[in-house]
């Protein structure tokens, strides 16, 4: 059981590594942020599994905080990028396709 959850956690870490490709490729900021959002959820799952595997219930707290914070970060992103008088330059190489 514990080794199974460890191995699954490892595979989830690998999917994060794969998902990084989307962050690298973009093309829009939203795509990158979306990938980060997925990392958040995956990290929550990894935390829960690791916590179970190593018998440390603390990790559930950390996972809870993670879940809360990814939500706040995503909201920051959505609200921030909506209106921003000085933003244009940043999107120069971010035009989709």
């Amino acid at each position: 059981m514990t080794s199974l959850s460890l191995i699954v956690a490892l595979i989830l870490l690998l999917t994060i590594a794969l998902g990084l490709i989307r962050v690298l490729r973009g093309p829009t900021p939203t795509d990158r942020m979306l990938a980060a959002q997925l990392f958040g959820t995956t990290a929550v799952a990894i935390l829960l599994l690791l916590g179970f595997a190593t018998h440390s219930p603390v990790m559930t707290d950390v996972a809870l905080v993670f879940a809360l914070l990814t939500a706040v970060a995503a909201v920051t992103f959505v609200r921030r990028a909506e209106v921003d008088p000085m933003a244009p330059e940043q999107d120069v190489d971010d035009v989709p396709d």
Partner: protein
């Protein structure tokens, strides 16, 4: 020595794996933002749900069950809302959804 519950939660954990992998692959392979959004929110929330379910079976106390449930609900609601906001924003910014050529 594995009990039935262990077996069951092990199966659940394993079952969660395809969802995460599918979510990641969708993120990588799907053609545009809206499709990716779609793949992502469905896949990872279900995946996490299965993991949570598996660990709830193993939980020592009701408090732990409650916390796990809370985490899942939080991710579910936040994920759905944020996906909605992102899609809304992208539409407002004039990104047309992808269509099969």
């Amino acid at each position: 020595m594995m009990s039935l519950i262990d077996l069951f939660s092990g199966a659940l954990i394993l079952a969660s794996l395809p969802f995460f992998v599918a979510g990641t692959l969708g993120l990588l392979r799907f053609p545009d933002l809206y499709c990716r959004l779609h793949a992502l929110t469905k896949a990872d929330n279900l995946g996490l749900g299965l993991v949570v379910l598996a660990l709830m079976l193993q939980a020592q106390s009701w408090l732990q069950v409650l916390r796990l449930l809370l985490i899942w609900l939080l991710v579910l609601i936040a994920g759905a809302t944020v996906a909605h906001l992102i899609a809304r924003k992208a539409l407002a910014a004039g990104h047309r959804p992808w269509r099969r050529p």
